[in-house]
Symmetry: C2
Subunit: 187 residues, 2 copies
């Protein structure tokens, strides 16, 4: 499971590898309402991510590592708040966390450690055999993280394998009332 | 209750106002081990702060507001992780959060919005009638936040009132195994 943390929108993508190929089990974004107080937004994000991690029980949760230069320090600190509750949920559920540098993920997925967002989206689309571009870019980033984590586990990217994309496995998995969970795996 | 969030050390201070004066009900620092993975440190901090907030049931949790310029962006983002799980714990326990700017707290406590840490420590010592300087500065900052929050609630700082400092009310309130909670209210 890859997660791209953000207070406004957190992208997530869950991949499952089998001899027959790689399946997108679940993917989407968790958004919180800017009109809500910070603590309500964090609580909504925490509950949504906790529920998804609990439901999907991933073998690994892959998150973008921190880097040193952020263009918008305040946004980065708010992202830190979001990342904090995501780490907490994963820890509480006993899921191992792997933090990967953005450059490593971009290099693994696109071959270019300095790839831009559109390049990442196209590469994720190609590798996973999606009919459409994964949108928004948070979802593409989360799927890229999940792909790179899968490559770490299996020794190679799931490139060229037959791909099956599945709808969310559990229809009872509803968005939390205060956090909107939108699923757009791009296919 | 005032909280000065940090991943390495979070300061907290709980004040209680009564007709007889202001009591420090509890104060100290929650530290996490740098050798632990980030998720373990956040979990330890979350559990320690959750337990303290649950035990003390404060009427208000006062936290330093974010500002725009941070000298050490990476440290600030890690502080954001810590602040995120603190906000989550308070929200889960139904405690109202008040974020105050550092300048407002310094002005309320010392009369100088640009006061340094030693000046804050001395002012907190004087106002609360402590025998020693509150140490480390995280505890002084947390007590300063609590004092300013109390002033917001009551209309004035608890200056000049007779002060009673109490030991932690509940001996069963032990440090969590993975987070060290040290209580040094400075008296």
């Amino acid at each position: 499971m890859g997660v791209d943390p953000g207070l406004v929108a957190t992208g997530f993508g869950v991949l499952e590898a089998s001899p027959g190929g790689v399946t997108i089990v679940d993917a989407g974004t968790i958004t919180t309402a800017a009109a809500q107080p910070l603590e309500a937004r964090l609580n909504a994000l925490y509950r949504a991510i906790h529920r998804t991690v609990e439901l999907q029980a991933p073998g690994l949760l892959v998150v973008e590592d921190l880097y040193t230069e952020y263009r918008f320090p305040r946004t980065a600190i708010l992202m830190g708040h979001a990342r904090g509750v995501i780490y907490l949920a994963a820890r509480q559920l006993g899921v191992t966390i792997l933090a990967l540098s953005p450059a490593e993920v971009k290099r693994a997925v696109t071959g270019n450690g300095a790839a831009g967002k559109p390049q990442m989206q196209r590469a994720v689309q190609t590798v996973l055999g999606l009919k459409e571009l994964p949108r928004p870019s948070h979802v593409a980033d989360a799927l890229g993280l999940a792909m790179t984590g899968l490559a770490r586990l299996t020794g190679r990217l799931p490139v060229g394998r037959p791909i099956v994309t599945a709808a969310p496995a559990d229809g009872s998995h509803r968005p939390h009332s205060r956090a909107a969970v939108a699923r757009r795996p791009g296919s």
